[in-house]
């Protein structure tokens, strides 16, 4: 019997009663759903509607058709690749960092890092780009120091203005985001479990493999999904770092909706947004399946 369902007595199993039983207690969630519908549902509907509108009104597939070709298709592929790399790598690194912070003794350090994580997770755009250019550009302060000890990264193929450069810079707000998201879950790893495992003779590896990872995995996966979405939709940082030499969907949306050149084609921008919606929805479904798989394996 599902926990917490004692209040619902099984009087009748007819369909209407089952439905009512399911939705009845959920009525208290009405404010939440109304809020979400207003703030999320309506704009989404507006986006989807506009994606299929011609520039002068009227239903049309042409916008959506256009954005599955050529450079826009490349944009989707690049954005997907970027988001994938920018969610998995910082995701893993973020877990390590979060664990290192959480087990630190200093309260002050923990509080500052937590606050800084929140702020960095929302930091980006032209200022972040500037910081990186100032530090690791061809004449950046760190580059100059590293050059002095013959470890200039630019001489070893490092380039801030490429795809991998963008991933490198993205980590600046992705890792803190993961730290913030995973900290509550890490806090749930009870000390008593560790002690019990040790008492039963388990090594550190076995503890992590049999207890730690399974408990954390759903939260880690969930965190990575959030990171994926965040990287997929990120616009200002990539724009200022590469000014469009890498095809990315958010930048292309920006060209239409935010630009100074191509006028009168905003609905193409909405079509790209619609495409992004589709890709993200598919990703979410995949995530759901993986998570279901994972929980079945664990429990």
């Amino acid at each position: 019997m599902a926990p917490g369902s004692e209040e619902i007595t099984l009087k009748s199993n007819s369909r209407i009663h089952r439905v009512r039983r399911f939705f009845g207690p959920s009525m208290a969630l009405a404010p939440f759903f109304i809020f979400v519908f207003l703030g999320l549902g309506i704009p989404t509907i507006a986006v989807v509607y506009k994606a299929f509108q011609g520039e002068h009104g009227g239903f049309t597939f042409s916008n959506v058709h256009d954005i599955t070709q050529g450079v826009y298709r490349l944009g989707f592929e690049n954005s997907f690749k970027l988001a994938l790399l920018s969610s998995v790598i910082p995701g893993v690194l973020g877990v390590f960092l979060a664990y290192a912070i959480l087990t630190a003794k200093s309260n002050v350090l923990r509080r500052v890092v937590l606050a800084a994580s929140g702020v960095f997770a929302n930091f980006g755009g032209i200022n972040l780009t500037f910081m990186f250019i100032a530090a690791l550009g061809t004449t950046g302060t760190l580059t100059v120091w590293l050059n002095a000890i013959k470890l200039n990264p630019w001489h070893y193929g490092f380039n801030l203005y490429t795809f991998s450069g963008v991933v490198f810079v993205y980590m600046y707000f992705q890792i803190p985001l993961m730290v913030l998201v995973i900290t509550p879950a890490l806090g749930g790893l009870k000390q008593s479990w560790r002690e019990a495992a040790e008492n039963l003779g388990a090594s550190s590896w076995r503890y992590w493999f049999h207890v730690g990872v399974p408990v954390l995995l759903p939260s880690v996966l969930g965190g990575m999904l959030l990171l994926f979405g965040s990287a997929f939709a990120a616009y200002a940082t990539a724009e200022s770092l590469t000014t469009g030499i890498i095809a990315l969907s958010p930048i292309q949306i920006g060209n239409f909706i935010n630009g100074n050149v191509i006028s009168g084609q905003t609905n193409a921008g909405y079509a790209i947004a619609f495409g992004m919606l589709v890709i993200l929805s598919v990703t979410m479904i995949a995530y759901g399946l993986v998570r279901k798989r994972a929980s079945r394996w664990l429990l």
Binding site: M27, A28, A30, P31, I34, F35, G70, V71, L74, N78, K81, I126, T129, F130, I133, A134, G137, T138, T139, Y161, T162, F163, E239, S240, L241, T242, T243, G244, I245, I246, A247, I251, Q252, G254, N255, F256, I257, N258, G259, N260, V261, I262, S263, G264, T266
Partner: protein
């Protein structure tokens, strides 16, 4: 039971919150412009009567405010222009989203319609003005000096009219570079770590100064303003040489050393870079002179229609045009003013000289759109590595 209490509390709380929100917002919605509606329909001033200049000034003062959008203070001297207009007529100028793009201005016209903070006037790329006209977002109006604006620089019905423009120029940090390039061809010479670090102001599918730079490069490379592909391959070569820095280049990137050469509008370099970088030289390249104007328009749903029209009259008066000239932009009426001696000679002299022997080119809206399409399709694959 208690859980029901929580449910009720939640619903009550949400209701109260929404009522509070309504109360707050109701309190903050000021009454719309109390000015007479007929100013919104006025298409030109008359010598006397209810639509004369005097009446306009009075009505604008009564409205008391003017909403402008996307006007950075150091862009073509807008900072001074706004201050001067405000002082002269006692009208408060609300400048929102100063770094906004033309697209955002057009979006604001529709999205903010009815708000008292909606834009009254816009200053956009010409192709946007054209689109806004066909979407009925602009009101027709001909300023008193209408005849002084060249025919190619305005819409015949008065829906939009060019205000100022400039040329694609090469700016160079002479203290960081041994020889400043004087043409696009020159830029291909110094490469590598100690060579040129060239930047443009943004992504050429988003920024029309960047697109114009590509068009200019195209002309310099044997193409034409109709065919931007030669321009794209020029930048591809630059990137391969390691001379192109794909960031949004501006004063900061020059000061930090990330770029030492910028291809940008001459007047924006004059106001944005020259004051902060000692030894910054701005010249129009000798192998291509591409010029473009921006356009003014009055919103058809302007909350302050009288102030909007007064603003336009001010901008197209000798004072206004000369202030743009002070910002080292070329005002639309410059040719007329020079012929009639009303242009400020000192400021005219500061404009970068047009190179001899080549005709300046002013891309039309159609050419810009065509170039944008070509660049949009090939920029990533040719200049970027396609990622």
């Amino acid at each position: 039971m208690a859980l029901r209490k929580i449910k009720t509390a939640l619903l009550a709380g949400t209701t109260v919150a929404s009522l509070v929100a309504v109360g707050i917002s109701a309190g903050s919605v000021p009454a719309g412009g109390a000015s007479s509606a007929n100013w919104a329909k006025v298409t030109h001033l008359s010598k006397s009567g209810s639509s004369s200049m005097t009446a306009l000034v009075a009505a604008a003062k009564k409205e008391g405010k003017l909403n402008v959008i996307a006007l950075p203070p150091n862009w073509a001297n807008y900072g001074t222009i706004i201050k001067d207009f405000s002082k002269k007529y006692g009208i408060k100028v609300n400048s929102v989203n100063p770094d906004g793009s033309s697209a955002q201005e057009i979006t604001a016209l529709t999205a903010d319609k009815g708000r008292s903070s909606a834009p009254d006037v816009i200053d956009v790329g010409t192709s946007y003005a054209v689109t806004a006209t066909s979407s009925h977002l602009l009101a027709p109006y001909k300023v008193q000096t209408w005849s002084e604006i060249p025919g190619a620089l305005k819409n015949s019905n008065g829906y939009w009219f060019d205000d100022y423009g400039g040329f694609v120029a090469i700016g160079c940090n002479s203290s960081a570079v041994t020889t400043c390039p004087t043409s696009f061809k020159d830029m291909l010479t110094e490469t590598g770590a100690n060579g040129y670090k060239i930047g443009i102001n943004n992504n050429p599918t988003q920024s029309n100064s960047a697109l114009a730079a590509v068009q200019a490069a195209s002309i310099a490379n044997g193409g034409s303003v109709n065919d931007a592909s030669k321009g794209v391959s020029f930048f591809a070569t630059l990137n391969k040489n390691g001379a192109y820095v794909p960031v949004i280049a501006n004063a900061t990137t020059v000061e930090s050393g990330a770029t030492n050469i910028i291809i940008w509008w001459d007047y924006l370099q004059a106001s944005g870079i020259t004051p902060s970088v000692k030894g910054w030289k701005v010249i129009v390249p000798s192998d291509a002179a591409v010029g473009e104007y921006y356009s003014q328009g009055i919103s058809s749903s302007a909350p302050d229609p009288a102030a909007a029209r007064l603003w336009e009259e001010y901008l197209y008066s000798v004072t206004g045009q000369n202030l743009w000239l002070q910002g080292e932009a070329r005002p639309a009426e410059l040719a007329y003013m020079q012929a009639h001696g009303t242009a400020n000679k000192a400021w005219v002299a500061k404009l970068p000289a047009l190179p001899k022997g080549i005709t300046p080119v002013y891309p039309t809206t159609a050419q810009i759109t065509a170039a944008a399409t070509v660049v949009g399709n090939t920029w990533n694959t040719q200049v970027g590595s396609g990622a």
